[in-house]
């Protein structure tokens, strides 16, 4: 008897942690998560915590720009879950009917200006980005951080000529942390992730843009049960705490 009760208790524990309905069997097998690049640090920790809580299931990640992930999904890349850094890339997936069930919002993110350590150019506002001689890099408008940056600049009625349009948010971060660029617009969480190699300048709420992070199980998933268990974990208090630690806002 003792042999059979152990998995049952483990499954029960997960159901309690997740605080949602779930079947009595514990999640098992591999779950592949396609997640937006801005989630890299937070979800890596999330995966470790989930793997520890559910030893029979194993999470692996593919982090890339949301648009890139959508392309991979439409070409048939094997994923059980997809997390986008905005609604428009999630819409592409739901429009193509690659999802199983409705997307669930797991977090929100806002934007900040990223500058070099010590803010050597003295940037305090969005309008400062238009200062002559300043080297500004932004994300291309194909990725969520680029869309957000464009809207913020429009909200502030500021026109700038960036030196580069990066294909992912980490490209902007690295150009600023390496000192080649003076400033860029990135997610608040990216500034936090850059640690003491860079610092952030707040963008006021009336100019800022809020990006939503929806997650969904893919239609092709062979392990929807474990995939759903991961979603439940992300949405649990433990999952929320990890996201908050990396600067994400509650959904």
């Amino acid at each position: 008897m003792r042999f059979t009760t152990t998995p049952f208790i483990a499954a029960l524990a997960i159901c309690v942690v997740a605080a949602t309905s779930c079947s009595t069997s514990a999640p098992t097998g591999d779950v592949v998560v396609f997640a937006a690049s801005s989630l890299t640090a937070a979800f890596t920790e999330m995966g470790t915590a989930f793997n520890a809580a559910t030893p029979d299931a194993h999470i692996t990640f593919n982090f890339a720009g949301s648009a890139d992930l959508v392309t991979q999904l439409t070409e048939g890349a094997p994923a059980d879950l997809f997390v986008s850094a905005d609604d428009s890339n999630m819409k592409k997936v739901t429009d193509a009917e690659l999802n199983a069930g409705a997307p669930l919002s797991i977090a929100k993110n806002t934007f900040a200006i990223i500058v070099g350590k010590g803010n050597p150019k003295g940037i305090t506002t969005v309008a400062d980005l238009a200062k002559p001689g300043l080297v500004v890099v932004l994300c291309a408008e194909t990725v969520p951080c680029g869309k957000g940056a464009a809207r913020i600049l429009a909200n502030a009625a500021v026109t700038i000529t960036p030196k580069s349009l990066e294909d992912k948010v980490k490209g902007v971060v690295s150009k600023v942390t390496s000192g080649e660029a003076d400033a860029g617009i990135v997610f608040v969480t990216d500034v936090k992730a850059a640690g003491d190699t860079a610092q952030g300048v707040d963008i006021p709420a009336d100019l800022n843009v809020i990006s939503n992070y929806p997650i969904v199980v893919t239609k092709q998933s062979q392990n929807a049960h474990a995939a759903q268990a991961f979603i439940d974990f992300v949405a649990s208090a433990a999952g929320r705490a990890i996201l908050a630690k990396y600067g994400f806002l509650a959904p």
Partner: protein, 259 residues
């Protein structure tokens, strides 16, 4: 043998056929005449030709040094100068930052004295392309110089030709096929360069957005345009490779007669 060779041919042909199969032919012209595509193509051709010219200018003397002189640590120098062939291009781009960027080893002085920042300029694209492309010229030309009989060159020298004159009039014509092959390889590598370019030079239409960068970004928003642009790049490269290949064979006959 033949069966394996056919497998090899299919291996290269199938992805190309895949592209042709998925290409939206009815919209091809619209995508190609798109202003952004034309700009990227022009920039790619300009920068890759510059990179080829620089590779020849500096690569031929380097190949000569490696093939014809003896000095301690020559193998180490050769390995160093061909390292960028095996280096992941993105790493190459980061390394170029550390050398030539605004905070780089040399770049910081250039920035301080001349207020000039190389990254984010078209020149940076050429530097990134030359960095990854030149080794292809160096190893091709070095191999040719090693195989070449030095007797005609020595004869020219005994007849009073200067070292440079002998090299220019005797050695260079003899290794011309290898020089052309090396230059074409460098050019092809420069044309397709992506990683070092986006890392070191950034991506901005008109200044640093070359065809591979435009294709990569188009892939995310407009996969159809990405396919059409890729096919254009392939067509250009294919035309050049086929044309020059024929010329090498012609030249190879000349060489045989010469030696």
């Amino acid at each position: 043998m033949l069966a394996l060779a056919v497998v090899a041919i299919s291996f290269f042909a199938l992805p190309l056929i895949g592209l042709i199969w998925r290409a939206p032919w009815s919209k091809a012209w619209a995508y190609l005449s798109d202003h952004a595509a034309v700009t990227a193509l022009r920039l790619s051709l300009q920068t890759s030709l510059w990179a080829t010219a620089l590779s020849v200018l500096f690569g031929v003397p380097l190949a000569w040094l490696l093939a014809r002189t003896q000095f301690p640590g020559r193998s180490a120098v050769r390995a160093l100068c061909t390292l960028s062939m095996v280096l992941p291009p993105v790493v190459g781009g980061v390394a170029l930052f550390f050398a030539l960027g605004r905070r780089g080893l040399i770049g910081q002085w250039i920035y301080r004295w001349f207020d000039y920042q190389l990254p984010f300029t078209t020149a940076a694209v050429v530097v990134a392309q030359t960095f990854v492309a030149m080794p292809f010229l160096v190893i091709t030309v070095e191999a040719a110089l090693r195989q070449l009989d030095t007797a005609p060159e020595d004869a020219a020298r005994t007849l009073g030709a200067s070292r440079w004159y002998g090299f220019r009039r005797v050695t260079l014509p003899a290794i011309r096929p290898a020089l052309v092959a090396g230059a074409v390889l460098s050019w092809a590598r420069a044309l397709g360069e992506f990683g070092a370019t986006i890392t070191f030079a950034g991506n901005y239409p008109g200044t640093t957005q070359t065809m591979p960068l435009a294709v990569y970004l188009a892939r995310e928003t407009n996969p159809e345009q990405a396919i059409v642009l890729s096919l254009l790049m392939i067509a250009i490269s294919f035309a050049v490779l086929v044309t020059l290949r024929d010329r090498w064979f012609g030249n190879r006959r000349d060489t045989a007669v010469l030696s």
